[in-house]
Amino acid sequence: MRLEFDRVARDYVTPDGQPYRALDEISFVVPAGAFVAIVGPSGCGKSTLLNVAAGLVPPTSGRVRIGDGDLAGLNRAATYMFQQDALLPWKTVRDNVGLGLILAGRSRADVTPHVDGWLARVGLTAFADHYPSQLSGGMRKRAAMAQNWIIDRGIVLMDEPFSALDVHTRQRMEGELLTLWESSKKTVVFVTHDLEEAIALADQVVVLSAGPASRVIARHPVPLERPRDLMELRTMPAFVEIYRAIWAVLRDEVIRSHETAERRRG
């Protein structure tokens, strides 16, 4: 399913009453079935953009188009994987994974085979009756992925989902995500501050400028073959070349965002 940002802007009011423009005139298209990564320095409004796409936050001006229609209210064509743990701590892994189906009105007995299939797919069969607090960080992310993918929506929004994991677990999760995505026709919008992760996963990397008033300053295709071997990919010449090209743009924004942060502090 196609997703389009059409001149999306979003303003906030800061705690001391000043208006603050987080996003300014953001326009780009995520083609149906594509994997697009959004990178940018911290505080550039990446998460805000995703919240707008999810319908959790309305744009101040502009619009989001989903397929052929304008988005109004919550985006029912999308799932959203949050940066923080969003599993319900009082539900077991099985109940968490099946939650979306239960919310859609299906009975527990009816969804159990489906849920068990997903638990097997993300390697959590043995932990089905555990509570989230009893799982490792990587297992919680897997449960969250299953929770999102089981409801089978056309668009998958992900906000730095793996940023809290250690390097190795993170790489494994990235691999599992790609495997899931490649066997689906889903459109993925993946926000990260890690350029390597963005290139390794995406078909296209969108670079946002440092805030306030973030804009799209570059859109770079990633013509690396699929399926990708994430263990080897990062040292391949083609990868390094793309990295250099995008980093040349991103670097200035990172420096600018540091300077802004310093000024605010000073």
Binding site: A54, L56, L74, T79, F82, L88, P89, L103
Partner: protein, 252 residues
């Protein structure tokens, strides 16, 4: 772990025995006057008498019954109002000073009013317990609903939850966490309410027993009443701890 628990338990028993032994010893040595502080042996004897004549049970059952009813009614009212106000911020803001005012009233001054309104039976005690339990439950429910994790709410909404499902799957469990954690306090308050109510005017109950004993300067009876009360609280509180562990088993 088991060793440590056994060690703690043994030390707890030893500490209790030591205090009782010192108490008994000081009275026997004539340092303390038994008229004022009684003595452990006499207190134990009195409790044994109450048990053997069966006079204890009626009072005990009355107090427990009043406490549980107070806990139940206070919890229902507190949870219902806490939920309602947490979902209606405007009403909550309007009611806020009044709730604080009501909570600031010392409950003891209400006891004579309840006696007047509800008579000497159990309901005046239940009412007093309710006024104590209600606020604990109310504040915890209110906090629990208001403090529900934003990310959990957004996630469940994205997964397709309606307003009602959001309440059921996120807000209620979130509030229950707070409510269960305050059960211990609530139970204690319920018993305080019941006993104070009995103390000020009743025909049965542990508070009544203590107050009768005080009326005749019978310190042994007072201490015996307090001991029974203490035992009931310890047993009930162990039960609540068990219940809490089970209800909040998803926490580490």
């Amino acid at each position: 772990m088991a060793d440590r628990r056994a060690g703690v338990l043994a030390s707890q028993v030893a500490l209790g025995l030591a205090i009782v032994a010192i108490w008994q010893g000081l009275v026997a040595a004539g340092v303390l006057d038994p008229f004022f502080v009684s003595r452990p042996s006499a207190i134990a004897l009195r409790i044994a008498q109450w048990i053997s004549t069966g006079s204890l049970w009626g009072h005990l059952v009355t107090t427990v019954e009043e406490s549980l009813l107070g806990l139940l009614v206070g919890a229902i009212l507190g949870i219902a109002l806490g939920f309602a106000l947490a979902r209606a911020p405007f009403v909550a803001a309007v009611c806020d000073p009044y709730i604080k005012m009501l909570n600031a009233i010392p409950r003891v001054v209400l006891a004579p009013l309840f006696l007047l309104w509800l008579g000497l039976g159990i309901w005046s005690k239940v009412a007093l317990a309710v006024t104590l339990v209600f606020f604990v439950m109310f504040f915890n429910t209110y906090q629990g609903v208001r403090d529900a994790d934003r990310v959990l709410i957004d996630n469940v909404r994205m997964l397709g939850a309606s307003e009602r499902q959001l309440v059921r799957h996120v807000l209620v469990p979130s509030a229950l966490t707070w409510i269960f954690s305050s059960l211990q306090t609530s139970l204690g308050f319920a018993m305080v309410g019941a006993v104070v109510g009995e103390y000020l005017g009743a025909t049965r109950g542990l508070g009544y027993v203590i107050s009768q004993a005080e009326g005749t300067f019978d310190t042994t009876g007072v201490f015996a009443g307090m001991t029974v009360l203490a035992i009931v609280v310890v047993v009930a509180s162990a039960g609540v701890t068990r219940l809490e562990q089970w209800l909040l088993r998803w926490k580490v």
